[in-house]
Amino acid sequence: MAKKQKSNTVASPEESSNLKGTFIMVMILGVLMVSAWFGAYWLFISR
């Protein structure tokens, strides 16, 4: 789905926008997701 790069070759306004804060936020969320899942997996294995 994500590969559907249409013929929109116009320079996008978003590319220039600064989304560093957003990126850090979502990555924190991602790390939480992965660690919680492995935590649960570990509990499952140890029982």
Binding site: A2, K4, Q5, K6, N8, S12, E14, E15, S17, L19, K20, T22, F23, V26, M27, G30, M33, V34, W37, Y41, F44, S46, R47
Partner: protein, 166 residues
């Protein structure tokens, strides 16, 4: 459609995590055989005694080999039938040594029940007409409550038992 470059990184990370989760549980399920309980064997719920596992004399705990046990149970509202002991009293506690492998086999005579040995991975739905079966290694010592964890009527919370791992 346009994705910001950070969003691409984020979605790649997110999707890769999901793929890793799936690979781990998929490997465990298909190669190590640790699927969730899915026994696929049916039975006539109106005549469960006809099945060898659920004959009254075969209920409860049996040692089948060294360190290997089986436990057969018939569930009904609101009781687990683990058979009777020498004094003809209903068994409520199953005792097995630590590290033993126990095969739980259970079916229902009436409505839908649950069967969980709380604190272990033994957690099954029990449905009329179907046999549920799960083999577990009792890794940890302790007393584990058996609870009916699927609603079966107004006495649902009075349906329980116990597993002691010594």
């Amino acid at each position: 459609m346009h994705l910001h470059k950070y969003e691409k990184v984020w979605l790649t990370f997110g999707m890769a995590s999901l793929v890793i989760f799936l690979l781990i549980i998929g490997f465990a399920a298909f190669w190590k055989g640790t699927h969730p309980q899915s026994h696929l064997e049916t039975i006539d719920q109106n005549n469960v005694e006809a099945h060898d596992s659920f004959k009254p004399e075969n209920l409860g705990l049996t040692e089948v080999a060294d360190g290997k046990y089986k436990v057969n149970i018939v569930a009904s509202a609101f009781n687990y039938d683990f058979g009777v002991d020498k004094d003809e009293k209903a068994v409520k506690t199953i005792r097995v040594p630590q590290g033993s492998t126990v095969l739980f086999t259970i079916t229902s005579k009436d409505v839908v029940h649950g069967f969980q040995v709380a604190g272990t991975n033994v957690n099954m739905m029990v449905e009329p007409g179907h046999i549920s079966r799960y083999e577990a290694v009792m890794k940890n010592k302790g007393e584990f409550t058996i609870v009916c964890n699927e609603y079966c009527g107004i006495g649902h919370h009075q349906m329980f038992g116990k597993v002691e791992v010594y």
